[in-house]
């Protein structure tokens, strides 16, 4: 079996509050594994410890107890960061750099240089659709553009793992959709993704597996399909049914042991409707 992309073992993080005796337990005895190729969604209300967990995995914050690994390498080592890209929550990058300069800077930090770095920068700008903004300073970028340059920055050294902290927070629906599509694209290419988000609908669309944190404790964990499918119900969507057909089906259901729980027109999501009306980037 291959090495897990992320291993978290009995992780606890207690933050001291300066000048006070009390402490905040941000994460408590958390254990989970993210397998290569998975898109893992970490869910939970604000303050439940999602960002803290991610920062510990990336070695930015030291755990109080427990251990985390990236592809088998201890998070406390600098080497563990070779194969991971990170997009923090509400990131700001250097406003005085242009999009292309930003990617070149992060590329150099990963040991890239010369023609290879130029090539990679161009590739990434095309990937996130920012070729036209490549020579503009980030000070003038919109929130959605910043998130996309952030994703490109995370991908600069072609890591096998991406850690994304609320990648669509504060982005308008069209931008949010673009970011979702990018993540799906990464998934297709076999990149493992750990993300947290409040937009449950999007999480549902892209995640294979989820974990739910509540006050630092992992309360539920598993494959998304298994967690949310309702075991004893089946859904059937008909196109252009005649009233007679519907009456017949209802009669058949009445004769059997089953029961019609709900009947009505399926609704498109508000997101889809919004994108249709505004002509967003929806296909």
């Amino acid at each position: 079996m291959s090495t897990p992309a992320i291993t978290i073992q009995k992780l606890t993080k207690i933050y001291p509050i300066p000048f006070k005796r009390e402490k905040v337990t941000a994460v408590r005895e958390l254990s989970l594994t993210v397998e290569p190729g998975q898109v893992y969604g970490l869910l939970g209300p604000n303050g439940s410890g999602k960002s803290t967990t991610m920062k510990i995995v990336l070695g930015l914050v030291a755990p109080t107890a427990g251990r985390t690994e990236i592809f088998g390498r201890d998070s406390r080592t600098v080497e563990s960061r070779e194969d991971v890209g990170f997009l923090p929550e509400n990131p700001y990058f250097y406003k005085f750099l242009t999009g292309a300069e930003t990617l070149a800077f992060y590329g150099k930090l990963c040991g890239l240089g010369g023609a290879r770095l130029r090539e990679r920068t161009r590739e990434l700008l095309a990937l996130v659709g920012l070729e036209n903004a490549a020579d503009r300073r980030l000070g003038g970028y919109s929130k959605g553009m910043l998130q996309r340059i952030g994703l490109a920055q995370a991908m600069v050294q072609e890591p096998r793992l991406l850690v994304l902290d609320e990648p669509t927070a504060g982005v308008d629906p069209a931008g949010s959709r673009e970011i979702r599509d990018l993540i799906l694209d990464f998934k297709k290419r076999g990149i493992t993704v750990l993300l947290c988000s409040h937009l449950l609908e999007q999480v549902q669309e892209i995640c294979d597996r989820i974990g739910i944190l509540h006050q630092g404790v992992l309360v539920r964990e598993g494959q998304l399909d298994e967690l949310i499918s309702i075991e004893n119900q089946t859904e059937m969507i008909l196109e252009n049914p005649t009233p007679e057909l519907l009456a017949e089906i209802r009669a058949m259901v009445g004769r059997s042991k089953g029961r019609v729980v709900e009947e009505g027109r399926p609704k498109r999501t508000l997101e889809r409707y919004f994108l249709e009306v505004t002509g967003g980037s929806d296909e």
Binding site: G59, E79, P88, L97, L109, G190
Partner: protein, 298 residues
């Protein structure tokens, strides 16, 4: 798909990337130009000072211009260093950098390198101004002396005096010391910013330490004098301990103000001694700063 290159425990390329980015950040900052214009103006205005004899004019002009340069590089060092790390923390750019395979040591070294490079740029812009001002003054003084004095050995002597008092290579060690003093203050400010939570706190603490650095010379003599005539041994011990601690933590900036003599020149041995003191301070503050930063909760 695997990492193409073996991870290097120390990479000069990464430090260089961070340093040049920091330099770019500082040079694209408005405060840099503001301070620099002010410094250039100050040096130019020192030209207008004209009193007493030609030689004395040069002295007052030189010490004013050099004093101005020294003060502005110091201000530039403290103000710009104080903002870089707190800003990276506040805007979370630090997360994106340290989430790459970048050791914290390299990050800090790159930041210091960027500030030192920026100070070099500032010096490189101020020195030509200084040379120009001294040259203009030299020419006008020579002309005035030629006009007012009758030809003869007296005039030749006066002209020679003026030439000696104008810009010469003797000034170079003094300029290096001015740079080093600013570099010591930058390194100190970097150390403060590793445990501070904001730029403003960093600036206040650093300025306080720097002011103490100017007066520690007197305090030290006073404290050691008190020890010599002291009667209670515990008191002696305490005073000595505090003095030594203060001496270690607070730079002896007085030692860097050694240009007040007439020509602005500097004996070579004094220069070497002061320069190495500066080097030791810079390295020591950087290393203490690193020790704090390495364990810092981000």
């Amino acid at each position: 798909m695997t990492a193409a290159t073996q991870h290097k425990t120390f990479s000069l390329a990464r430090v260089f990337a961070i340093a040049s980015n920091t330099l770019l950040e500082l040079v694209r900052l408005k405060v840099f130009y503001f301070l620099l214009c002010f410094a250039l103006l100050f040096i130019a205005v020192s030209l207008a000072t004209s009193t007493l004899t030609f030689q004395e004019q040069f002295h007052s002009m030189k010490s004013m211009a050099l004093g101005g340069m020294s003060m502005f590089t110091l201000l530039l060092a403290v103000l710009s260093t104080a903002m870089i790390i707190p800003k990276d923390i506040e805007e979370r750019t630090l997360y994106t950098i340290l989430a790459k395979p970048v050791p914290r040591f390299e990050y800090l070294l790159g930041k210091l390198g960027g500030v030192l490079a920026m100070l070099l740029v500032a010096m490189a812009l101020m020195i030509p101004m200084l040379v120009l001002v001294l040259y203009v003054k030299e020419q006008s003084s020579l002309a005035a002396a030629s006009r007012s004095l009758a030809p003869g050995p007296d005039r030749d002597a006066a002209l020679e005096q003026i030439r000696l008092a104008a810009f010469s290579a003797d000034l170079i060690p003094g300029l290096i010391i001015i740079y080093l003093k600013a570099a010591v203050c930058a390194s100190l400010t970097l150390l403060v910013s590793t445990f501070a939570t904001s730029s403003i706190f960093t600036i206040i603490v650093s300025c306080m330490v720097i002011i103490c650095g100017y007066v520690q010379h007197f305090a030290r003599e006073h404290a050691l004098g008190a020890v010599a005539v002291g009667t209670v041994s515990v008191m002696n011990f305490l005073v000595k301990g505090v003095t030594i601690l203060a001496m270690l933590m607070i730079p002896d900036l007085w030692a860097f103000d050694i240009l007040d003599d007439a020509t602005g020149a500097l004996p070579l041995d004094l220069f070497a001694q002061t320069a190495s003191l500066g080097g030791v301070y810079i390295a020591a503050y950087f290393l203490i700063g690193y020790l704090i930063f390495a364990g810092k909760e981000l």
